[in-house]
């Protein structure tokens, strides 16, 4: 008699919906004629709506909570699944905007969905095998999406660089997992955790394995010294892909680190946290100092995303429930702000055909609404009160103060000032310099509505933190 483990299918409903939609999109891509490609994007949006509905339903379903040896399907993961679905929906909106140079959108949506599936698995991961598979599914889709515009050599170069460095990082990760398996004889988080708790002194294999896993995940969240791919990939890849990379991929990597820290590393936290603190400081400094001389908005945002990874790592290094709540809040703020900025970059890039910072000269006179949205989003990224980004940074810094790491807090505070400088140079171009042309930039109603919703999100999340924080704390 074969012993069949019970799989909580109800709780897996969002993942199952996404998986079903991947197959639906595959069939639809083959059936829909070339001149009716817009059907595919409607189908893709519908899939997100269905998955979001099922996510809400699953969170209310009594039998849905709990988890297995593979996945921990709790409300903490549910929160991030909601954010990931939101991010994917915005990315789909971006692909609908003019001049995105994306042909064969069906395959693009399919890859977006496989990336989403990988990310959904990662935020509820409870097993080293699924950690590897989820990460591979996510990054594999992103490699291809980064190189999607074959007519643009920069896009192909971006895909190539990302593929090579990403494969190396996967190698680190799988070697680390192998060492942990060799130490504990199991790949479940609880099993490895128990092995760490019961063995004194901590085996070298376990320590080396944990460092290798940290290196593998460091690539995905773009932490120093594994950040070299970021500026080139951000510059070359199609902007909707960069948005997915900077929000979805980073969020999944950070949450996977949190899961590992909480579920596996907890008995030997001292292996990770000091290293993470140093990496966090280096990442913040590298990202924010590197952003200053940039002349291309996407490169600038690449460095800025490295800087944000530093703040997130500071939260992980602190390793308290409070810092986990701070990271959850930070990711929500980062999602709204960064997606709003990228939406403006897509719109401006689509109108002018370039991502140079010079295109933003006098944007306030050409399109006041667009400039205002960019202004608010950039200030939120910099961490100016009362916007969402400010509260996120404040919470992370406060949790680090309580965690007795004042030197790291000092570096974090200095970096807020540095980042304000380069975000404001973009604002200066938009508001103080004369425009190259006086023609206004056309915005489709869909893009305008999405942008307005994101900006509203930045303000609301920043001003009324309490309901969001209360919800986040209830998921921990």
């Amino acid at each position: 008699m074969i012993d069949i483990p019970t799989i909580p299918w109800c709780a897996l409903a969002p993942e199952l919906a996404v998986a079903t939609w991947i197959l639906l999109l595959l069939v639809a891509t083959l059936c829909v004629p070339a001149h009716r490609q817009s059907v595919l994007s409607h189908l893709a949006v519908l899939g997100i709506v269905v998955a979001a509905g099922l996510l809400v339903w699953a969170s209310q379903h009594p039998s849905a909570s709990g988890g297995t040896a593979m996945l921990s399907l709790d409300r903490f993961g549910g929160y991030f699944k909601g954010l990931l679905l939101l991010a994917t929906a915005v990315v789909i909106v971006m692909t609908r905007l003019p001049r995105q140079l994306l042909t064969h959108v069906g395959a693009f949506y399919l890859l977006l969905y496989t990336a989403l599936l990988g990310a959904l698995i990662l935020v509820s991961v409870n097993n080293l095998l699924l950690l590897f598979l989820g990460l591979e599914l996510l990054t594999f889709s992103l490699y291809i999406m980064a190189a999607y515009v074959k007519t643009d050599p920069r896009s192909v170069e971006a895909g190539m660089k990302y593929l090579i460095l990403g494969s190396v990082s996967s190698g680190f990760l799988i070697y680390g997992i192998a060492l942990l398996y060799g130490m504990a004889g199991t790949i479940t988080f609880t099993g490895v955790r128990a092995a760490f708790a019961n063995t004194q002194p901590t085996p070298v294999a376990g320590q080396v394995g944990l460092y290798l896993i940290l290196a593998g995940l460091g690539f995905k969240v773009a932490a120093v010294p594994f950040q070299l791919w970021v500026p080139d990939v951000y510059e070359g890849a199609p902007t909707p892909v960069v948005a997915m990379l900077s929000v979805g991929s980073k969020m999944a990597g950070v949450v996977a680190m949190l899961r590992l820290l909480d579920g596996l590393v907890a008995p030997v936290q001292w292996v990770w946290t000091p290293v993470l603190a140093v990496i966090s400081a280096a990442t913040m400094l590298y990202g924010n100092l590197g952003a200053i001389p940039q002349t291309n908005i996407k490169r600038l945002l690449g460095y800025s995303s490295i800087g944000h990874a530093g703040y997130l790592l500071m939260g992980i290094a602190t390793a308290t429930p409070e810092s986990a709540a701070a990271i959850s809040y930070y990711l929500l703020a980062y999602l709204c702000s960064n997606l709003a900025v990228f939406l403006v970059v897509v719109i401006v890039g689509g109108a002018t055909g370039s991502d140079s910072l010079d295109e933003y000269r006098g944007l306030s006179r050409r399109s006041p609404g667009l400039a205002a949205a960019m202004f608010i989003a950039l200030l939120s990224l910099a961490g100016v009160p009362p916007l969402a980004g400010f509260v996120g940074k404040l919470l992370v810094l406060l949790s680090a103060v309580k965690g007795q790491r004042l030197w790291l807090v000092a570096i974090g505070a200095v970096n807020v000032a540095i980042s304000l400088y380069y975000y404001l140079t973009v604002v200066k171009r938009m508001y103080l310099e004369a425009p190259n042309t006086s023609s206004s930039i056309r915005i489709t109603p869909l893009a305008a509505a999405t942008l307005a919703a994101l900006v509203l999100g930045i303000v609301v999340v920043g001003v009324y933190q309490q309901p969001f924080l209360a919800y986040i704390r209830s998921t921990l």
Partner: protein, 166 residues
């Protein structure tokens, strides 16, 4: 006794083959050395009783993957001069340093006293037990792998399509 003889023969051969992969100047020789390495690994799997894994090792790695490598090398058809230009000195230094670091870690791990934590299993490695595990305990990872392969196929088709079809 016989087991030890076989073990050291295949392990030694595997190490020699791996060194030859790294040191050969001609890519074709490197690939062929890799083939020898894969076969040695398969032999070691057989000695552990993992017959199915050994068969997969030969079929997939020695068969499919290495043939792919050979195709790429033959299609690129790099001249020795072009290869010589790619031998970056710093890269070699960094690679050596990283490899020695990992070797040191491995030595430290293996010198640890006490028995290995994983007891040699008698049932793993047979087709039946692997099939059972795949479709019960590891059902979710198994299904996820199929999506990974789907993404890879779509990606290959997307990247390989002709410009005229755009």
């Amino acid at each position: 006794m016989t087991e030890a003889v076989f073990f050291y023969t295949f392990s030694g051969l595997a190490i020699l083959a791996a060194l030859s992969v790294a040191w050969n100047r001609r890519p074709i020789y490197s690939v062929l050395s890799l083939l020898v390495f894969m076969f040695c690994l398969a032999a070691l799997f057989i000695m552990l009783g993992a017959y199915f894994v050994a068969a997969l090792q030969v079929l997939l790695y020695a068969g499919a993957v290495l043939v792919l490598f050979l195709f790429v090398i033959m299609l690129l058809n790099l001249e020795p001069e072009a290869l010589a230009r790619m031998r970056l000195f710093t890269l070699r230094g960094v690679g050596t340093a990283a490899a020695s670091l990992l070797l040191a870690a491995l030595v430290a791990i293996l010198r640890r006293p006490g028995p290995a934590p994983i007891t040699p299993a008698t049932t793993i490695g047979s087709v039946e037990s692997i099939g059972q595990l795949l479709f019960t305990t590891y059902l979710i990872p198994f299904e996820l792998t199929s999506f990974l392969i789907l993404a890879a196929i779509i990606g290959a088709v997307t990247l390989a399509r002709q410009k005229s079809h755009d």
